[in-house]
């Protein structure tokens, strides 16, 4: 599968300030999540991919070409920035039509596509008459995403597109991104909402202090994600009874009981042993179970692991 983008020992410094430090990665088609704390280098990486800044050293190619100041690459990219600054006084249709024309579309085609894009991000037509600066955070996110769809890009880069959206809005955006991926558009998305990213992305790039630590990315690799969870949370009628039952069968390495929520956080001695007899064991315990979930998402786990090491 031809990679969308490839970086080899890529570094970017702003004088003495570190942006990215010697990172190598391959961006494959599909939805890729980029995760890291603030200042990890996510925006720097985006700007490098967009061709707005040059690498200090190393090699970066996007669609096989160097992206710096390269309209041929930009024709295949779209970017949704994190910033909520939008041009004052413009209505969404005016703004999107203008941007579509700058992308090379005729006025009529830009108008048609702008309407379709606004529909696609579910911005209701009654809001189209308002100025974008008067929009709520969630509506701004939708317009920002709509401007990405105008020129049929092959890679859409989204910086925190879920910020300010309610759960329904996040689901809407996630569905649009899944549709894009289904249509063959690759997506690179950063978000601090890790559960959303896990549900959406096939691959991840985990950044920390401008680097991509190998251990961090191994923890979030598809192999690691296929393994059984190390810890599980049960919300049940009697956490104590369930804990006793599991201890008696030598399944637990340890556990915490939260009486207020009726939860048992179980840490497994051998997760595989439990999950192979999952249904049978829970039935045998005789405890009414209301909810079972992974105690920690694998992204949280990866980030925690990196922080502790």
């Amino acid at each position: 599968m031809t990679p969308i983008a490839q970086a080899e020992n890529l570094s970017r410094f702003y004088g003495m300030i570190l942006g990215l430090n010697n990172v190598s990665f391959t961006l494959r088609p599909g939805i890729t999540g980029i995760v890291g704390p603030n200042g990890a280098g996510k925006t720097t990486l985006f700007r490098l991919l967009l061709g707005q800044i040059r690498p200090s050293s190393g090699e970066l190619t996007v669609f096989g070409e160097r992206p710096w100041n390269n309209p041929a690459v930009q024709a295949r990219l779209a970017y949704c920035p994190e910033s909520e600054v939008m041009p004052a006084g413009l209505r969404p249709l005016e703004w999107l039509t203008g941007l579509g024309q700058i992308s090379g579309l005729s006025a009529a085609e830009a108008d048609t596509r702008a309407r379709a894009a606004l529909d696609r991000v579910k911005l209701l037509p009654e809001h189209w008459k308002k100025r974008v600066t008067a929009y709520s955070k969630g509506m701004k996110q939708r317009v920002k995403l709509a401007q990405c769809l105008l020129h049929g890009p092959q890679l859409v880069i989204l910086d925190e597109p879920m910020n300010g959206l309610d759960p329904m809005g996040r689901e809407d955006i996630a569905n649009i991104l899944r549709d894009l991926a289904h249509d063959g558009v690759s997506v690179l998305i950063s978000s601090h909402i890790l559960h959303d990213l896990e549900a959406l992305c096939a691959e991840f790039i985990l950044l920390r202090w401008g680097r991509i630590p190998r251990s961090l990315n191994e923890t979030a690799s598809p192999d690691a994600r296929a393994r059984w969870p190390e810890a599980t949370t049960f919300r049940c009628e009697s956490p104590e009874k369930l804990a006793r039952f599991l201890f008696d069968r030598d399944l637990l390495r340890g556990c915490d009981i939260v009486a207020e929520t009726g939860s048992l956080h179980a840490r497994w001695r051998d997760p595989e042993k439990f999950f192979h007899q999952y249904h049978q064991l829970l039935l045998e315990s005789g405890v009414r179970i209301f909810e079972v979930q992974d105690t920690e998402s694998f992204l949280e786990k990866a980030i925690d692991h990196s922080a502790s090491s």
Binding site: A78, A110, Q147
Partner: protein, 285 residues
């Protein structure tokens, strides 16, 4: 429950996908970009976005305040205004050769800097438009708007003069208008260059004004031709200096050509600087 809601979401997504196939069809199959830079469409887009900003009510409030201040200045200047050349001299020496270049410079520098601000830059300059072309299109769009603004200001200055029956102003109005057009064009290009170089473009402008316009431009040699305001003042001198010689059409054409050369040089330099500059700082890291 979860399965049924996920089924609903999937079916909604499928419907949406079908309805908007227009947007993304064939994207996957194509390895070439779906759009290519089209300069005439891009110019229309840049013009449209610039014009929308120009028409903003909040901007017109600022322009309105400026016009009122200019009208008050015009009413209070050029005393005794019945003396030939007095008011016209003020209009040429203060308004045409000082105020117009200063306003044109700052407006142009600001217009380009606005395009480089975080938030704007991400939407416009991530699109497949060569940066030199963007600078050229932005300049043309901005220039039309700036000329219109200053045309309004010119109407106020001349209107107040005519209202006060300033001698010789009616005859000077057309040459002044042409001179204003030349200066707005040249100083807008200079503003673009300085705006492309730094956020503190006003300081470069002040340096330029001190060295070229107020310094070299006052030296009575050919070097003074480097000063654009000096050249324009020479053209308009017969309208407020009794001793000045009449300027021929060739003189106007020559000055127009020199100003055009300055404009092209400044704009070319602005495009070059804008093309090589990176559009993010450490704050974005």
């Amino acid at each position: 429950m979860r399965e049924s809601s996920s089924g609903l979401l999937t079916s909604a997504a499928t419907t949406l996908r079908d309805a908007h196939r227009l947007l993304m069809t064939s994207t996957a199959a194509q390895s070439a970009p779906r759009v290519a830079a089209n300069l005439s469409h891009a110019f229309a887009g840049v013009w449209q976005l610039t014009l929308r900003r120009y028409l903003l009510p909040s901007r017109w409030i600022t322009v309105g305040i400026g016009i009122v201040v200019l009208a008050l200045l015009s009413l209070g200047s050029g005393h005794p205004f019945d003396e030939p050349g007095r008011y016209t001299g003020w209009a040429i020496q203060f308004y045409i050769t000082f105020l117009v270049p200063a306003i044109a410079f700052m407006a142009a520098g600001g217009a380009l800097r606005d395009e480089m601000k975080s938030g704007t830059v991400d939407y416009v300059l991530t699109r497949p438009l060569p940066r030199p072309a963007f600078v050229g299109f932005k300049f043309l769009s901005h220039l039309v708007c700036a000329q219109l603004d200053l045309l309004l200001a010119f109407a106020v200055v001349v209107g107040v003069g005519l209202f006060r029956h300033a001698p010789g102003l009616a005859l000077a109005a057309l040459p002044m208008l042409v001179a204003q057009g030349l200066l707005v064009t040249a100083f807008s290009a200079l503003g673009f260059l300085c705006g492309a170089i730094t956020t503190r473009y006003v300081f470069i402008g002040l340096g330029y004004a001190a060295i070229i316009e107020a310094g070299v431009g006052q030296i009575p040699t050919q070097l003074s031709r480097l000063s654009m305001t000096h050249q324009v003042r020479d053209l308009l001198a017969p309208h407020f200096e009794r001793a000045a010689e009449q300027v021929t059409l060739l003189g106007w054409v020559g000055t127009g050509a020199i100003v055009a050369v300055f404009t092209v040089l400044f704009l070319g330099a602005a495009a070059a600087v804008f093309t090589v500059r990176e559009l993010a700082g450490p704050a974005d890291a």
